[in-house]
Amino acid sequence: MTFQERPLDRDASSVGAAGGRDTVPTPTSNSVAVHLNGLRRRFGGVQALDNLDLEMAPGELIALLGPSGCGKTTALRVLAGLEDADSGRVLVGGKDITELPANRRDMGMVFQAYSLFPHLTALQNVEFGLGLRRVRSAQRRERAGAMLDLVGIGTHADRYPHQLSGGQQQRVALARALAIQPQVLLLDEPLSALDAKVRVQLRDEIRRIQLEVGTTTLFVTHDQEEALAVADRVGVMRAGRLEQLGPPDEVYQRPSTAFVADFVGLSNRLPGTVSGDRVEVLGTALPLVPGAASGIGSGAVNALVRPEAVDLAVDPDGRGRVLAASFLGPTSRVSVAMPDETMVVAQVASALLPELAPGTAVRIELRPVPVVVEAA
């Protein structure tokens, strides 16, 4: 087993401020493209991967999102070499690595479960992969220290995993994965065991570091907010297939299927009638997402309308009656019952909440944003 030793591209002092949505990922010389071609994997009676195709550009961060059992973790594990595909190919940097064992794939991985070696300190954990690559002791220590600084935990280098919190352990795991300068970084729900506040902090840190390092990254999560916040592109998976792959705003605002619209964000299912490239819902003609009505044609459908596309106005003659309201901070969700027993959920500014007491008559207006429809 031989490894090509590569110098670190930067030291800890060069790490800049957190990257945001507007920051363009900059592929480094180490960044590689990843292709998953026609992957299939079956576990007993369950088809975990069903002809999955995925192309990742160098330096790109793709988040795979989907419900439990949709195959997202299996896809990541097949890429890591921890699971064998029944058929299909895995190409990294143009090289076919389908048959290569996990320890020769040169990938860094952060797991959902805490995976630090309990008998080693944080520094020794980070040094572990470098040791396997025969990096000299002094250089190894220096690199590991720089990586711990990069993830903001340099002061805890001598602590053992049981002396670190969950968030700190995952930071060390990230440093350990990055220390070997992997071709691809794989994140398997690394934040799911953390509490909400640490989760958001670490999520942003992961994005900042990924932008700094420029490593092509696959991030698996079932948390849509997490996926939308960190990814260059989000892939929504269902039953082993990619239902939609696109930038976060596109996936959210122009979902290609009812499943995506339903899974990513909240949606109202409102009865409507398709006519041409529009659908009439609650008296408003809404544009359809291109291709959304293909296979359905004209006629009665259910339109999936986001709560933030629903406006409420207090009106004694309004047909809706407020049923309940949930305070969510700056915004609130208000449930409105229509005379035909259709339930409409609207997202409104919390400042309007005092006017929307249960029983208040309201008028509903829909904003003309493109919607997806499904057969009624």
């Binding site: 890591a80 320890n103 991985m109 797991f111």
Partner: protein, 276 residues
């Protein structure tokens, strides 16, 4: 109310001490009797001559050559059995946990079988096998290693399995693999250091069992410590009892060390977790 609770606590404490003292006497009185037997002369005087001989190993070897051979055989058997048990059991149990979890119950059942089969029955089964072992490897007492490895399986399996239950073997080995470790490195540098106390427990139990084993060695006509002690009893009762006492004390010390190792492991797990 507080008075009643305190009285109950005092009673419980007293009961615990009574149990400890009774059990202590149960174990210590025979040991004390053995010690007295080795140091008391028929005329009522006390002498440590037997123990002086016991610790003067060159003299012991020349005076009691069979005993010396038995002690050496048991010592070598201990080393071989511990080594074979670890080499066989640790990778097997780890592999079953990682790749063949559905086989876990089967392996557990097989490993626990020797516990349910009396040694005499085992020997009946082993006799024809050992005819072949003797044919291929000769009649050396070291061939008992195979039988003893089977005999220690229930205890060693339990200890190692308990150690593995304390760590997430799958995730740790996958993490090590993703960092570039071969399976050998995973085993040597990740799994073994984290089940060190379990491996120690399994080894101590093996030592205690091999040092005390008589039935199989005797029925298969091999000489180990206990067979030699039994033979020695016919010619020098005091030395025979002294050796038995030393073996028992050694086993007690090992078991005590084992419980200490277990406690250390427990303390490590209870270490304070910091919040972020």
């Amino acid at each position: 109310m507080a008075g009643v609770t305190a009285r109950r606590a005092r009673k419980q404490r007293a009961f615990r001490w009574i149990v400890v003292i009774v059990l202590g006497l149960f174990f210590l009185v025979p040991l004390f009797a053995m010690l007295m037997f080795t140091i008391r002369e028929p005329d009522g005087h006390y002498t440590f001559e037997t123990w002086r001989q016991f610790f003067d190993w060159p003299q012991l070897a020349s005076t009691y050559p069979d005993l010396w051979t038995g002690m050496r055989s048991s010592g070598e058997l201990v080393l071989l059995t511990v080594a074979l048990m670890l080499v066989l059991l640790v990778p097997t149990v780890v592999w079953v946990r990682l790749r063949l979890p559905w086989l876990r119950r089967v392996i557990e059942f097989i490993c626990l079988l020797p516990l349910t089969i009396p040694a005499i029955v085992l020997v009946v089964g082993l006799a024809p096998v050992y005819a072949w072992v003797t044919y291929f490897l000769g009649g050396s007492p070291m061939t008992l290693t195979f039988a003893y490895t089977v005999l220690v399986l229930p205890y060693a399996y339990r200890a190692i399995d308990a150690g593995l239950s304390g760590i997430d073997v799958k995730t740790l080995s996958e993490a090590a693999r993703s960092l570039g470790s071969s399976w050998g490195t995973v085993m040597w540098r990740v799994v073994l250091p984290n089940i060190r106390s379990a491996v120690l427990s399994a080894s101590f139990l093996t030592v205690a069992l091999v040092l005390g084993e008589f039935t199989i060695a005797s029925l298969l006509n091999r000489t180990n410590l206990q067979v030699a002690v039994e033979l020695l009893g016919k010619s020098s009762a005091t030395m025979s009892v002294a050796v038995s006492l030393a073996a028992l004390v050694l086993a007690f010390i090992l078991l005590f060390a084992l419980s200490f190792a277990g406690r250390r492991r427990g303390q490590n797990r209870r270490s304070i977790r910091e919040t972020s």
